[in-house]
């Protein structure tokens, strides 16, 4: 009997038009849980390093996390994994909404797609009936428009659709996959477009078994009510009006200008009024009591649902205001472009124009207003028209294709990937490590459990630590020692980076939303899911018997497997650098020490390669063998990772089986950031 998971993957070969339902190995669940963990295993086994992103042999894998479809609240994520055309590394993406639960009820944990369809198609999964259908009538259609047409033609409004827009069809490196209120970012839409797969439509009406239904349901009912009441869960930036945090601290334009003092009461009032005018409601994902999404209908545009920091990226890149963002998002989400990379590549092009590197020949009739320029370039981009064809390859490649000094303007990428636009003063040690070493390419997929800032007042600091259920004891010590305007020690920094990334790997295997879990510890420390209570949910749902240490070990295994995929594709220490001028004041010696010590701690070589000892201990001996065969390892590397037990005298296992949410009635992000930033 399989619990929480269906035990089946759907294997689709678009070249041959072949569809198979394949039973999966339960032992892999024990080793990797599911989600991006088991997806990484499939990529390791079946996509050798020679295979490029746009090869028919590349796989595009949709995975509903292990606990998705069970009553665990806020657990609804679908992970999309493939090899990225931008980085040539493992590409990791996630989206929420309703797709994953529907897939589980249709009887599948994953959809594994290989090959390329001869013409544009969509996949229709109706429980056991699966068809590849012609999509020629959907060519060039917007993502939600596509979803609506599919629901109409299949005559069922309960179908869940994930689709690409024009951007995906034209293989933009920043193309997303869009679903009702969520999107899979970081370029996975380009691979879907390359496979000529316009959309996946799913309808599932089957049951899903869990090991201990009654206990699980009762626990989840209570947890859901607690989550609703907790200000430490969800995306507070969606519901609070003050956003000085991003606007005063993040960089505008092509990640250039910091506009300290931009945020004023006048802006706040005006933006609030406008938002309320066009906002229909706040909205959530499947089985989650929070309301992180804005349903909006800007004048003259169709209604759509906005999420995350897409609310700020567009107008900040264009030096505009919130109305600009609401308006352009109505276009960009239908085209299916990422709200991080796309605004940046456009802002980059505008800088090149102003510097005379791009000219009127490249940009005929280029408007003078920065907002108009955005619309102009967005259209060029999604059609790969003229200069758009170059920009569609992302800032890093476009800079090199354009030449004439354009490379100088590519200053905010890591591993060829656009980063969140932030420019700060002095190097921050934990962040240095997260930027350098993350295999997820994005800081928001890496940070999140440990607070971004210390608490100045010793009394409040102590209180914070006393109530900090989510943290293994060592972090309380680090936090108590952390004074404002200082960096944590090297030891603390390594552990912070390790904890932060570990929790994301837990979420991306289980399907928990980061806003309930790995991302929300950093603001107030009271996240709904943490290393101590997640095992209880897994055990009740999946019939496993794991504790916090076991869970950490699984996340470590998944982390190392993803790293191994990238190492086999050439990732080395030389690639592990923060964005060029991310920090004005750098500390090269300290940075070297940080990286040296982090690699040692992780059980990797000084080149960032997991050692044989580490791989063997994690049950990834097959990776070590392959590395030796390929000459990546010699086999003598015996540097084992450092064990970091989750339990201690203060945190005994018996008392940590299920720990409730931290309570607070008055926490707001606005106040918290004002006090601690």
């Amino acid at each position: 009997m399989r619990y929480a998971e269906t035990g089946y993957n759907l294997e689709v070969d678009l070249s041959r038009g072949n569809i198979e339902k394949v039973e999966t190995d339960r032992r892999l669940t024990e080793l990797h849980l599911g989600g991006n963990g088991t997806a990484a295993k499939i990529i390791w086994d079946r996509v050798p390093p020679e295979v490029e992103a746009f090869s028919p042999d590349n796989l595009l894998i949709f995975s509903a996390g292990l606990l998705v479809g069970t009553p665990v609240p806020g657990c609804n994520r679908t992970m999309v994994d493939t090899i990225s055309p931008q980085t040539n590394f493992f590409s990791h993406s996630i989206f929420g909404g309703y797709f994953g639960p529907e897939l589980k009820h249709a009887g599948y944990d994953k959809i594994v797609i290989r090959g390329k369809a001869p013409d544009l198609v969509y996949l229709w999964i109706n429980n056991d009936k699966v068809e590849i259908r012609d999509a020629s009538h959907l060519k060039g259609k917007g993502a939600q428009e596509t979803a609506a047409i599919i629901k109409e033609e299949l005559k069922d409004p309960r179908i869940q659709v994930a689709a690409i827009g024009l951007a995906g069809e034209n293989r933009l490196f920043m193309a997303s996959i869009e679903h009702v209120n969520a999107s899979a970012a970081r370029g996975v839409g380009s691979v879907m477009g390359d496979k000529r797969l316009k959309a996946i439509a799913v309808r599932g009406t089957k049951d899903l078994q869990v090991a201990n239904p009654e206990e699980l349901f009762k626990l989840c009912l209570k947890h859901s009510q607690d989550m609703h009441a907790s200000p430490f869960v969800g995306d507070l930036m969606a519901i609070e009006w003050n956003d000085a945090f991003h606007h005063d601290n993040f960089a505008w334009g092509n990640a250039r200008v910091r506009r300290k003092g931009f945020w004023t009461q006048e802006i706040e009032d005006r933006w609030k009024e406008y938002t309320l005018k066009i906002r229909d409601r706040l909205q959530g994902c499947y089985n989650c009591p929070k309301n992180c999404h804005l349903v909006v209908k800007p004048p003259g545009r169709q209604r759509y649902i906005l999420k995350c920091f897409g609310k700020g990226t567009w107008h900040m890149a264009a030096f505009k205001e919130i109305d600009f963002t609401f308006d352009i998002l109505a276009l960009s989400q239908e085209y299916g472009v990422d709200s991080y990379a796309a605004p940046q590549v456009i802002a980059f092009a505008i800088e090149l124009y102003e510097a005379g590197i791009l000219t009127d020949k490249d940009l005929p009739d280029f408007p003078s207003d920065s907002g108009d320029r955005f619309y102009y370039l967005l259209e060029k981009l999604v059609r790969r028209e003229g200069i758009g064809d170059v920009l569609a390859n992302g800032v890093y490649r476009a800079a090199r294709q354009i030449g004439k000094g354009a490379e100088e303007y590519d200053h905010n990428t890591i591993k060829k990937f656009e980063q969140v636009p932030i420019k700060l003063g002095r190097v921050n040690y934990p962040y240095y490590l997260m930027y350098c070493t993350s295999d997820k390419m994005a800081i928001n997929q890496t940070e999140g459990s440990y607070p971004q800032d210390p608490i100045a007042d010793p009394v409040e600091r102590q209180k914070f630590v006393d109530e900090w259920i989510a943290a293994p004891e060592r972090f309380k010590r680090y936090f108590m020692e952390w004074e404002p305007r200082t960096n944590p020690s090297v030891e603390a920094s390594i552990n912070i980076c390790d904890w932060n990334e570990t929790m994301h790997y837990v979420d991306d295997a289980t399907g928990l939303c980061a806003f309930c879990s790995s991302f929300r510890g950093q603001f107030g420390g009271g996240t709904a899911y943490h290393i101590y209570n997640i095992p209880a949910f897994i055990n009740l749902a999946a019939g496993m018997n794991i504790d916090a240490d076991d869970l950490w070990q699984i996340a470590r295994r998944n982390r190392n497997l993803v790293r191994a995929i990238n190492v086999s594709r050439g990732l080395r220490r030389a690639d592990e650098k923060p964005p060029e001028d991310h920090w004005k004041i750098r500390e090269p010696e300290k940075e070297k020490e940080l990286l040296d010590e982090y690699y040692k701690f992780k059980g990797w070589t000084q080149d960032g390669i997991p050692s044989k000892a580490t791989l063997d201990k994690l049950g990834l001996g097959y990776v070590a063998e392959e590395f030796i065969r390929r000459g990546i390892l010699t086999g003598n590397e015996d540097n084992l990772y450092t064990e970091t037990p989750c339990y201690s005298d203060e945190k005994q296992k018996e008392n940590m089986q299920f720990s409730a949410l931290r309570k607070s009635s008055e926490f707001t992000l606005t106040e918290y950031l004002k006090k601690n930033k």
Binding site: P71, H105, A148, P213, L221, Q225, R281, P289
Partner: protein, 179 residues
Amino acid sequence: MGKLVKKIVRSINVDLDKCNGCRACEIACAAYHAKPRYSSFNPNRARIRMVIDAQNDEWVAVRSTNYTKAECDGRRTYTINGKKYSECSFCGMICPSRDLFKEPDSGLPLKCDMCEGEKEPLCVQICSRNALTYEEREVEVEADEQVKPDEMELGLQSLIDKYGMQKLSDAFARMSQKG
């Protein structure tokens, strides 16, 4: 005039503006009515369903009311705050025109029983956003001798409608002989 008796009326009020579209009500209802209890979390087994059309900002929780073998003309539309709704979006009838409120395998009707025996219906308990709220009122009504059909009878009725009384009683007789 019949005799007046006191009766508790239990009702669920729906505030559409508060709904976040999470569909937890569906999950909780399905779980509570699964046999054994909580053994399924399949929204398709729920007696409350979310009618969702995101592009129209339509998020309506509908509880199933009664079984009917005939569909109505269902042609009316309502416009509220500039958004157009079909009358089906608010209707709780278990009717042949849609696959709502029917067991996915058997097609038998699923009728809301207000979670008889619970202090508060499960869909209300899980709806922390208070889109669903529960109300109990004591009213005086004329004594009503008529017994409302229970779930089994509803199921039987739907089978009769589907196959006809004759076929069903033949099958029933055959099965009772086999024991």
